[in-house]
């Protein structure tokens, strides 16, 4: 398995490098100018030129690429254009824990909710409850997340102010003590995590339902029932555990969706995470930050997929890597 992991990691290197190269050229060739902000009445025309020279944007794109490549190979992804020239990894280091927190909580909520709904649907196949859950799941699955987020804010933060509409903590949360601060943070995460996870959970529910229905029809389930085992034990101990194995692969493939979902969730809920960093970097044409974000997101996604594959093999000894 170790060799398999090493192989996968080695294959990931050219893959990520290719993605970065593509990103480099796409961002450079797209219209827009990182120094555009400095072109305003009342600002000397020299400023934009000086800024461009500092950013190295006056060189031809191939020269910029070679210079960038030389720096990246030394581990230097450069400094952000739009964020006070901080090293890009410092910017990301501030933002990543927030996004990882949201993504992690979303992943947990996704699977918990999805598996629960999937089991109920499968066990009560073709009942009113099953149809109701199916329709509800499809409703949430097809709903645009940004719209859903705004609706949740209007409903739960304005009409019935149960949860905060934005930010990571309350003003003065520092005085709540460690546990209070953590709970305050969790309270602020309820709405965004709900928005992000409901959509994914609906998909997982459909998947679990299908998987469960397949397993329930297996001989060993019939045998378990024939043995006179209670239905709970049959479902949770025998059927569910086997039905969940294919669901594990979904974990890895969920990551890209959760990360892309975080893009606008962070903008709407004012979280300074990777999503907002990326969106703002794109609008500001902050090339180094866009590329570094691509690198981090890309690496996380590749690692997520690898983790899912390995996890699957660990969980199911029938799979040999």
């Amino acid at each position: 398995m170790l060799i398999y992991i090493l192989k996968r990691l080695l294959i990931a290197v050219p893959l990520i490098f290719g993605v970065l190269t593509l990103t480099f050229f796409i961002t450079r060739l797209a219209p827009g100018d990182p120094a555009a902000f400095f072109i305003q009445p009342g600002i000397s025309p020299n400023v934009a030129e000086q800024i461009r020279a500092q950013y190295g944007l006056n060189d031809p794109v191939p020269v910029q690429y070679v210079k960038w490549l030389a720096n990246v190979l030394q581990g230097d992804f450069g400094r952000s254009f739009s964020r006070a020239q901080q090293p890009v990894f410092d910017v990301i280091a501030q933002a990543l824990p927030i996004t990882v927190t949201i993504a992690g909580l979303t992943l947990i909520a996704n699977f918990t909710l999805g598996i629960f709904v999937g089991i109920v649907s499968a066990v009560r196949q073709n009942s009113f409850l099953d149809r109701f859950l199916t329709v509800t799941a499809l409703f949430f699955y097809s709903m645009p997340e940004f719209w859903f987020a705004l609706m949740m804010i209007i409903f739960f933060a304005l009409k019935f102010p149960l949860f905060p509409a934005s930010g990571l903590n309350e003003i003065g949360a520092e005085g709540f003590g460690s546990v209070g601060f953590l709970l305050d943070r969790l309270w602020h995460l309820v709405l965004p995590v709900t928005v992000l996870s409901i959509n994914g959970a609906a998909g997982i529910a459909r998947y679990v339902r299908g998987s469960m229905l397949e397993v329930i029809r297996q001989d060993y389930i019939r045998t378990a029932r024939a043995k006179g085992l209670p239905e709970n034990v049959v479902i949770f101990k025998h059927a569910l555990r086997n039905a969940l194995l294919p669901v594990i692969t979904l974990m890895g493939s969920s990551l890209p969706f959760i990360f892309s979902g975080a893009l606008f969730i962070e903008v709407i809920f004012a979280f300074p995470g990777m999503g907002r960093v990326t969106v703002e970097a794109i609008f500001a044409r902050d090339y180094p930050l866009i590329i570094a974000n691509t690198f981090v997101s890309g690496s996380l996604i590749v690692l997520g997929n690898l983790f899912a594959d390995v996890f699957y093999a660990v969980a199911d000894p029938r799979i040999k890597l």
């Binding site: 400095f38 705004l150 804010i153 905060p164 709407i268």
Partner: protein, 599 residues
Amino acid sequence: MIDISAKRVSAMCGLAACLMLVVLALSSCSRRNGSQREVVKGGRAMDSTLVIAMLGDADYLNPLLGSTVTSANIIGLIYPSLLQSEFDTTTGLMNYMALEKKLREVTPQGQGKKDPKGALAKSWQMSKDQRTITYILRNDVFWNDGKRVVSGDFKFSYQLYGSPVIASTRQQYLAELLGADKGKVDFDRAILTPDDTTLVFRFYKPVPEHLALFHTSLTPLPAHQWKDVKLDEFRHSPLNLQPLGAGPYRLKSWQQQQEIVLASSRSSNLPKPGTIPQITFRVVPDYTVRLGQLQTGAVDVVEGIKPEDFTSLLKANRQIEIKTVGLRVYDYVGWSNIDQNEYHKSGKVRPHPLFGSARVRLALTEAIDREAIIDGYLKEYGVICNTDISPSLKWACNERLVPHPFDPARATALLRAEGWLPGPDGILQKQGRKFSFVLYTNAGNARRNYASIIIQQNLRSIGIDCKLEVQESNVFFESLQQRKLDAWMAGWSIGLEIDPLDVWGSDLNKSRFNFIGYQNPRIDALCELAKQKMEPTGARAYWLEYQEILHRDQPITFLYWIKETQGFSRRIEGEELNISGTFYNIDDWRLRPSANVAL
């Protein structure tokens, strides 16, 4: 086998959940350690904290580099300023104040609330030849670290402002100093500091006093803190995160992209410690969420509330009021006056085939129902715009100009006189060319979207085919700069000193913002003549004529001035909004519940 794998799955899930909790704890701990905040004594934190929602974070809290609105607001509270400036609402002129001197006396009606004690300068003296200005500084002002603010801080800072390596956006302020005419300011001769409280600026040409005051009152940095920082490290120096000021507030914490917290600076005598103990600038990028936060009382001030939201906002929370500032922003429809293709190909200036004639542009203006746009969207927060000189600048505004009326019949007649006649499909044609074009605008501006739809309908009704296209802002601006567009809708926010040559100057290479390619030598001459006047009101006649020409030529269709609207919680007292800024006297604001909280 099943049991083994199931146990493995359970173990893995448990491990993942534990890891998640650790990440959550770490993410919250890192924030807490980073801020090192303490709760303001007395009552709930909100009782002594003013919370302002901002669209974006500050880029720098360094006066040389800060270029966003948030930066400017915060820098103004942290750093000392040489002079206090305020806008005289009765005349529209800027006034500058030192501790013992004012540029001009103002009537009580036009008087603002700025305290001259907020100025670092005691007085100033302009030489008779208008080439030298000498400031006498107070000797009782100290940086937050206890060092005195001296004239050397200004000389040091101006040298940095002029450095091309630092690329400060305020380089333009040095344009009159000795040596600037030869391409490089001679700082040894241009700025003199005979002693710690005397600061002398010397210009290569006579400079009007108000302009000299404006350009020499750039915010200083503490020289003793910054003197060892290399120029090429200036923009990313860690000192940028620890601003050392002398103003009424000091930086308490800065969680980037999240919030900036300022605390009243107890040692400040410029003019005194800020009245509200703590001000938090919270970054909330989404408009709906900012609005919701104002409604629930989570924030106290939100700028740029859209008129369409007033009713529901005020109905939902009676503790909110809407305030406006003067007319500083206008929207317009730009018509390319020149044939850009020809200009890009050969450099020759030829009239644009559609919009090259002043009579056609006048017809377009008269075909657009500007009142309908105002009534439908801006309501009482919009005023018809005639030229780019704001009605708030009363000393210069030509009030005799009568707005071009909405008159489709006259517009049709004007177009007919220019040879534009209806074709078989109802669209006007001239020599086989249809009057058809694309009107571009930038994405994400609801007001312009609304206006562009009315414009499209208005123009269609007189036989003009106007297609609408929205571009991402950065792309849109690049297209404008490169003079690629035939017609577009955009807006300008004007400066309080009138200097429009960049927008209308006939030299198309020099006038970077003359996107339409308008050329009129008389406009160039009037702008130059006005600049030469040593007292702004002396240039009034030039500006009146300037406005008459623009009104006649209609290089663009001026649509409407916008009264910017800000949402305020009623718990704020003492606020005075001014055209020079919403937070103009924020250090004097009070919070009702915080009245009993001791500083």
